[in-house]
Subunit: 256 residues, 2 copies
């Protein structure tokens, strides 16, 4: 057996999320099914980020242990995987890794991209990949607010409350380290987007979406940028903004 890393892209719209589920269509389920067909026996995979239902990935990384014969022709393995997986999931790369490599535990950082459509009229080409906000957002205020989140903090205000509670019950930390948050206007497919790129060591459940929903409150002028500091200090999910919709979020990169 040999350990591999698979880089894959998917459009999250029609998946019930990354994680394998018994009765629903998942990214992991589709990928493992293709690997099983090729290897002849069940293959378990581990993903770098457990993206929720509706969340996309440009470069998700998955590790797996497969029979050595399957990697003798990597190009052929990739072509076979792409022939066996559905159209909304594309394998981009397969690389050999040292034994024991885990896409999840060896990841040094994850970068997520959240797109807000600032199109004035509803987005069309980017509709499946953005959150449409008709009101013009104050980018400078959002950038200032974002600075409060950089570095190591306890992000339990920015996480599904039940999930934070469960981590705490298991004596696990809700501290995470954010390296940077970039907020840039850009035009994609001819449509005006506000792209929020967030890089950190790891993320709590829904953390990026709650951060975005909270930054948007500032961008709409409902709160001053310094309010984000108060939300962080409160360590209470109910203090933060709404969870931004899944379709705006893309797992962009994972670094090792």
């Amino acid at each position: 057996m040999v350990t591999i890393a698979i880089t894959l892209s998917y459009r999250g719209s029609d998946f019930a999320g990354f994680a394998r589920q018994d009765d629903q269509r998942s990214v992991q389920g589709e990928l493992e099914s293709a690997l099983r067909t090729l290897s002849g026996s069940p293959v378990e995979t581990v993903g770098a980020g457990r993206t929720d239902s509706g969340v996309h990935a440009a470069n998700q990384v998955v590790s797996a242990s497969i029979p050595r014969i399957m990697v003798e022709d990597i190009d052929r393995l990739m072509r076979s995987l792409n022939a066996l997986t559905p159209a909304d999931l594309v394998v981009r790369d397969v690389t050999m890794q040292n034994d024991g490599f885990s896409a999840r535990f060896d990841a040094r950082s994850r970068t997520y991209l959240y797109r807000i459509a600032q199109t004035g009229t509803p987005p069309l080409f980017m509709a499946p990949y953005s959150w449409y906000i008709a009101h013009k957002l104050d980018i400078e205020a959002m950038r200032q607010a974002a600075t409060y989140l950089i570095g190591e903090h306890d992000f339990d205000s920015f996480c599904v409350a039940k999930s934070a509670q469960e981590l705490h019950n298991n004596e696990l930390s809700t501290k995470r380290h954010l390296d940077h948050i970039q907020i840039e206007p850009e035009v994609v497919m001819g449509e005006k987007m506000l792209s929020i790129t967030i890089q950190g060591n790891a993320f709590l459940h829904s953390m990026v979406r709650v951060i975005v929903g909270t930054l948007v409150e500032v961008g709409l002028g409902k709160h001053d940028p310094s309010w984000i500091g108060e939300v962080l200090a409160a360590r209470d999910r109910t203090e933060a903004g709404q969870t931004a919709p899944a379709q705006g979020l893309t797992l962009r990169d994972v670094t090792y």
Copy 2:
């Protein structure tokens, strides 16, 4: 009555083309149906470009004559149109025009964008908006080939043969003037594209797609760039390359 110009975007994938058809879903049909609902009587529209089935538009322009009361609140008219049209058609702008304005006959130039996916593995996010070519294209050769097409030429080699014949039968010209062709690599939604932008005064049926199909033959090294000059001189559709697939093409802009 007052004359208006409507700027609209559409995803061509599920339309049988721009032009109204009795028994199929068309952009013009959907737009006219919404206008009729709002005006209470039939409204005829004229489009700047009769895009084929599967072709997209970022900024198609359509003219129409509607009751003056409908334009008293233009923002409201746009919101109403967007509420009445399907999700794959978005009205971007409505402006008042002088009487007699025709989106088709008053257009000074049209700009089309054709995207070729050079992703190595199949495109995902851009799959509905590009033609995937696995082989790496020679951009410099394609640029050189494109220079032969700039200026005024008889483009009957680059047009559906039956359509050229019909124009000739009616003593109409197949001469058109191309202002420029730009061929640029770009990354859209994280995927490598070769974007071919073609601006001209007007276009024959399938002209952009036959030009792209012919440029691709050069990009693949099947012909030298100067071959394009021979194809142009031959005035024979069978000399040119294949018609590039519809989904890669977007009507980007129309100028007046």
